[in-house]
Amino acid sequence: MALCRAAPRGLTAAQVIAVISVISVGCGPDASDDGARSGRHAADGDRRILEVWTPESGSRLQMVQQRADQFSAARPDVKISFTVRDFGSYPAQLKLALASDSAPDVVIGNLGWSLDGPLIKAGLLRPLDPWAARYGWDKRFPEVAQRQMRFTVDGKHFGRGAIFGIPYAADVIGWFYNVDKLEKLGDGVPATLGELESDFETARRTGEVPIMLGNKPQWPGLHLFYLVSCDLASDREINGIVFGDRSVQWTDPGFVESARMLARWNASGYIADGVNSMSPADALARFVRGAGVFLPAGSWNAAELSAAMGDDVAFFLMPPVRKGDPRRATGSVGYGWHITATSGQADLAAEFIDFMTQEAFAIQLAAGGDISPLPIDDAVPRAPSRLAGEIFAAWQSVLANGTLLPYLDFSAPNGAEVIYPTMQSIIAGQVEARQGLELIEQSRKEFLDSQ
């Protein structure tokens, strides 16, 4: 999962075994996959009820619910009933809910193989193409964004085929920096990869921590890799890895070079001491307290950072190798809205989804300091902070230039077992870059073969 934010839960192995077994009691190997079951029209008095599932939390959940209230106001005959589950346990719970006899109508998924893929393969989600044509969804979003929601109907290929989800919010990985500290280094905001590296060196020499990173959960290291590979790997390499192109491999030159660069950064002392035992939250807290010049992280940290640091924190996308080249960035169109295969009110569900993903909502998100996959041309609202404004502008440039790249861990569902730990070992210099990437490629190949 790209935005892996699983909360610690105190399960023992024995409990896990028991839970597996309990799940298997409900839907064992003999469970049928008969796809569409008879629909179910829920009603509350005279009002129709649309059952909606989401893993959102915080301000995004608030904005989604506010928007849903506006829908209900426009359609008084419809009641939106939200089921909110925490992000960590959402995939497991959603799978069970959709496989049950009382599946919800509309659900938020998660990109790629972590959630959308298995659900589509099991026939639990509908292709949305008929409604996409009716409402113009296929033209509402840039294709670089739309592609992250495409699957073949058999669920075997990601990034092509039918539209299975409609996005509404987005995220992008970049560099947060301490404005004050960068100014003291004296070279201004880096415009190239070379300038960024020389900032690291200057920072280290002056006793600052160049890169503040907490890699305890192991995925943040891969986010650092995204940043570097945006510069050193080609579009074809990155999209190929994610969308199952077998002519592209993790051991291609762009990735090997990226991995070697990270190992070199670590060996040069650019990455914070204790990186492997520090949580991302700790890293963020340290950065807020003034440790670290740069913080490589996702846009979802912006609200917390600007609340704590005000105008002393700013953001830029990975600077290109050659000065002036358009910046490329790894990001996602968040999680999409989906219609379940068993919903008996798919048209109403589509109407709801359309309302939830219109430009009006994109503007509401922007006003709340968030970003969405929709280019907003006019009526750009005032950002709630300088940081939010910078992220918004950076994100819009990526959409306009078509330089958005997908998260590399969308390529297979076993990031936590293979990709993240191997990348951590590469960065630490425990495994040679190419050797480590071979291991990752091998597991990707096994996954593609199993499809």
Partner: protein
């Protein structure tokens, strides 16, 4: 009561426990075993793969290393606590130091704390700028201060030491109870025979503690093999795969990767290992029984 009734009586006593054991232990375990022969993502139709999941598990370097780590943890969770607890229990059983009971309670205390709390606390103690390293720096041992849980060399032993800290108290409590069962007359006899402290320990105390030692080893070895919560809270299997244990793989494959058959196969292997090791411990203890 008829003869038949007398024969049935013991089974009737077992019945209540059995009624719970079957639906909550036996049936789920049978399901897990069944599941381990399938390739199943939890949603689509499961495909029978025979021993495929087991072949994959035995062939996987990661799975093998996970079991290797579990055996390293056996040393720290089982062997070390027993070795530490023996002298602690023996030396304190006869000594009437003031506050002795309070001391024993303190040693046992870690056992009463939730593993998650233990993990979070030790994560803080072992942090690069945590109290342990602060202490090392204070003594001028700067070279010894490392990022314990983030080090590819020290992460697993560090987790092990946390286990030692947690389980030593349990062993002390077990041995302390065991020591009070040893008849004083045996010690008198040993004294009459002119046995020294060491001789007395080897000839009387150790054989008398055979039962409690077997119990302590069984409990601690099982907790080493099924270690999951401590790892999940402190290292998540990292850095790299240095602290990956079977429980973590089971959790990830079942709940994150959607490979329930594979997770079930590892769970079955783990259960067999646990069963075999505990059987071995009890066999050895029985054979040497006085």
């Amino acid at each position: 009561m008829t003869a038949r009734g007398r024969r049935a009586l013991p089974y009737l006593y077992l019945l209540p426990a059995f009624l719970f054991f079957v639906p909550f232990v036996l049936v789920p375990f049978a399901h897990t075993v069944g599941l381990s022969f399938y390739d199943w993502d939890g949603l689509t139709r499961a495909a029978f793969t025979g021993l495929g999941n087991y072949r994959e598990a035995f062939g996987s370097a990661l799975v093998r290393s996970a079991f290797g780590h579990a055996f390293v943890l056996i040393f720290f969770f089982g062997v070390l606590p027993v070795l530490l607890a023996l002298p602690l229990a023996v030396s304190s059983v006869n000594a009437s130091i003031p506050g002795g009971n309070a001391l024993r309670t303190l040693i046992f205390l870690p056992q009463a704390i939730s593993t998650v709390v233990v993990g979070v606390s030790w994560g803080w103690i072992l942090a690069l700028d945590g109290p342990l390293n602060a202490g090392l720096h204070a003594f001028g041992l700067d070279w010894a201060a490392v990022d314990w849980l983030g080090s590819f060399t020290w992460a697993l032993p560090s987790l092990g030491i946390v286990g030692t800290w947690t389980l030593t108290g349990l062993c002390v409590a077990l041995f302390f109870a065991g020591l009070q069962q040893i008849p004083g007359s045996l010690y008198d006899a040993a004294a009459v025979d002119g046995a020294g402290r060491l001789r007395e320990f080897l000839a009387v105390t150790l054989p008398g503690l055979k039962g409690p030692i077997a119990v302590a080893l069984t409990v601690t070895v099982i907790s080493a093999l099924r270690a999951f919560d401590l790892v999940f809270v402190t290292t998540r299997g990292g850095p790299g795969t240095e602290t990956v244990v079977p429980g973590l793989l089971i959790y990830r494959r079942a709940f994150e990767d959607g490979r329930l058959g594979s997770a079930a196969a590892i769970a079955v292997i783990l259960s067999i290992v646990v069963f075999a090791v505990t059987l071995l411990i009890n066999r050895i203890a029985d054979r040497n029984a006085p």
